[in-house]
Amino acid sequence: MSQEVTRLVHKYLRHDKKFPHVWCPGCGNGIILGALIRAVDRLGFTKDEVVLVSGIGCSGRMPVYADFNTLHTTHGRALTFATGVKLVKPDLKVIVIMGDGDATAIGGNHFIHTARRNIDLTSIIINNYIYGMTGGQFSPTTPYGSMASTSPYGHIEPTFSIAQLAETAGASFLARGTVYHARLLDKLIESAILNCGFSVVEVISNCHVHFGRRNETSNPVTMIKSMKENAVTVEKAKKMTPESLKDKIVVGVLNDIQKPAYINEYQKICEKAKN
């Protein structure tokens, strides 16, 4: 096991990048990067074939550590850059890392329309319910009533469900995992990369520093353990009532449908135009 970790670290992390990373001790981002690397490794793609794109925020810093073609874009715009890369080089595997605020607030419009087009991109949305890098302001996924640095009296807005948003907009593969369920996450990311179309993997993560501290606990272990306790598999959730699913985290593949991917449709009009 440890030999395997060493092999992956040597193969996929950038040795000329000055570590340590920017993430706080106990942050879930490292687990997600690990899962992503394991998924790529298991699928057997070369590092040259993978493009890792991100927006802004703690999640945005992920690409710099990984030895792929890496692109750290502007806040909320990662999917637009990724669209350009993918359409020019359809053979590349383009994976986009975003945070909850990045993907659904400032980048919400791009998220909706990239899903609607069903462009063959894999998006991993790290949902830690907060804007971490800027100091703990509430985001579109911050639960009602929670404390954040900009909701000192408790948060008054309803939340977005990233999964429902993605599904309604047209994503063809949709999954949810947590940083506790690391092995499951490997598999979900693997399936998302293999899907031909727009894939979304929502990963519930912990920001104990900015979210946990202001709410239930500043202990990352406690936060991650609560993911274990609150997680329900998709299969089990089907047998449960909506009331009993309240406050639960449904994990697994939520939706997986075959539908035309943008690039295939575009190739068809190219043929039409040439004839």
């Binding site: 950038r14 000329d16 990048k17 000055k18 590092k47 040259d48 074939e49 493009v51 794109v53 690409p63 710099v64 030895d67 792929f68 073609n69 890496t70 692109l71 750290h72 874009t73 502007t74 715009r77 999917l79 637009t80 850059f81 990724a82 669209t83 350009g84 890369v85 993918k86 359409l87 020019v88 080089k89 053979d91 590349l92 419009n109 791009h110 909706i112 329309h113 575009y266 009009i269 190219c270 039409k272 135009a273 040439k274």
Partner: protein
């Protein structure tokens, strides 16, 4: 390198300015266009939507101008020459990612067909109100190249040139057209592909392990590798070191920002494009750009026929400001008129470099109508 794009070689065509921009882009090797509908630039999208599938290039209509700008940067990093086109309101939205293209040194071309502003303004009328936005619209110190078009024919030439400069200097290049040029339809003869110089970015030739993506060199323009070609590197909008990794070390930050400016300063002679008309013996001169320059040419002839020794300095490049040629005109002439379809933007630049007793006069028109030759002639009579 000669272009392989289908070209209307040497043929006489009835084109509007917007269509000529597309023809120029295709000859220059543009393979990716992303845009969002806006008057008076929409024809550029429409023509690309028909032409790109024919040549195996990509046309995509994005959800807004922010996305369009992001997509063309991504496309450029993947190796395609790329372009977007818009007008004032969309140009405002593009500023965020224009700054990204600038710091990440990503070649791309942005067309702004100017209309009256501010805000929604005058969607179907010409104006030149975005000159300073083109130079300074995105935040932070940044290098940028701004070119202008004045006729249908030069819309073609300038677009080719814009791609060449973007590729050579790894900068976003802004083309300022205006509603007048964009929607004027006239017969033009386009040059044959073999007569057109097309420049491609320099790609690294060394083995990947030797590649330092943002290494300074004599030109200040590092070789640019393409995603997927084996040179895995990091691209970021953060200030970065020569390897592309974020840095806050003052020495590295300073070297980086200065190199971004130095590459433009070094290339100034190539970037600076002007056209002079009867300036040799001129005592009064017009300094103009865009469709106003075309009117000014006629006004100069009219003035000459009435005994006024007039001349025209037509600025094709607005930024970097063609200071040396402007200074020459200011030195030689006693009176200089700067007519613009705005409240006076380039005139400030002209005044800034005027170290002579020459009088610099502005002439503004902001009512949505073009400046006519007669108006300029009338101003010259006052000289």
């Amino acid at each position: 390198m000669p272009s392989s794009a289908p070209n209307n070689n040497g043929r006489k065509l009835l084109l509007q300015g917007n269509e000529a921009i597309v023809e120029g882009a295709l000859v220059a090797g543009c393979k990716f266009f992303a845009g969002y509908p806006i008057t008076p630039a929409s024809e550029i999208s429409e023509v690309f939507s028909r032409r790109m599938p024919e040549i195996g290039g990509t046309f995509i209509q994005m959800e807004d101008e922010i996305a369009s700008m992001g997509a063309i940067i991504g496309a450029s990093l993947a190796g395609a020459k790329s372009m977007t086109a818009t007008s004032g309101p969309g140009f405002s939205l593009m500023q965020e990612n224009i700054g990204y293209a600038s710091i990440a040194e990503t070649p791309c071309v942005v067309v702004n067909v100017m209309r009256g502003g501010p805000s929604t303004g005058l969607p179907t009328s010409p104006a030149q109100g975005d000159v300073m936005q083109a130079r300074w619209g995105t935040h932070g110190d940044h290098p940028i190249i701004v070119l202008t078009t004045s006729t249908v024919r030069d819309s073609f030439d300038i677009t080719v040139k814009a791609f060449n400069l973007a590729e050579e200097f790894r900068v976003p290049v802004i083309i300022l057209s205006d509603e007048g040029v964009a929607h004027t339809r006239e017969v033009v003869t386009l040059p044959a592909s073999r007569d057109i110089e097309v420049v491609d970015r320099t790609v690294p030739g060394m083995p990947p392990e030797m590649y330092v993506p943002f290494q300074d060199n004599g030109r200040g323009v590092p070789d640019m590798s393409t995603f997927g070609d084996g040179y895995r590197y990091h691209v970021t909008g953060l200030t970065h070191d020569v390897r592309g990794f974020p840095t806050m070390k003052s020495e590295e930050v300073n070297d980086f920002i200065n190199r971004l400016f130095r590459k433009i300063t070094h290339g100034f002679h190539k970037i600076q494009m002007v056209d002079t008309f009867m300036t040799e013996d001129a005592q009064v001169a017009v300094i103009a750009y865009g469709s106003v320059a075309r009117a000014a040419r006629r006004a100069v002839l009219d003035a000459r026929s009435h005994g006024i020794k007039a001349g025209l300095l037509h600025l094709i490049t607005l930024f970097p400001f063609p200071r040396t040629v402007v200074e020459r005109v200011l030195k030689k002439c006693r009176w200089v008129l700067v007519p613009e379809m705005n409240m006076g933007q380039m005139v400030r630049e002209v005044k800034r470099v005027n170290k002579y007793p020459t009088h610099v006069e502005k002439y503004s028109r902001v009512d949505g109508h073009i400046i006519t030759p007669d108006e300029i002639y009338y101003q010259l009579m006052k000289a």
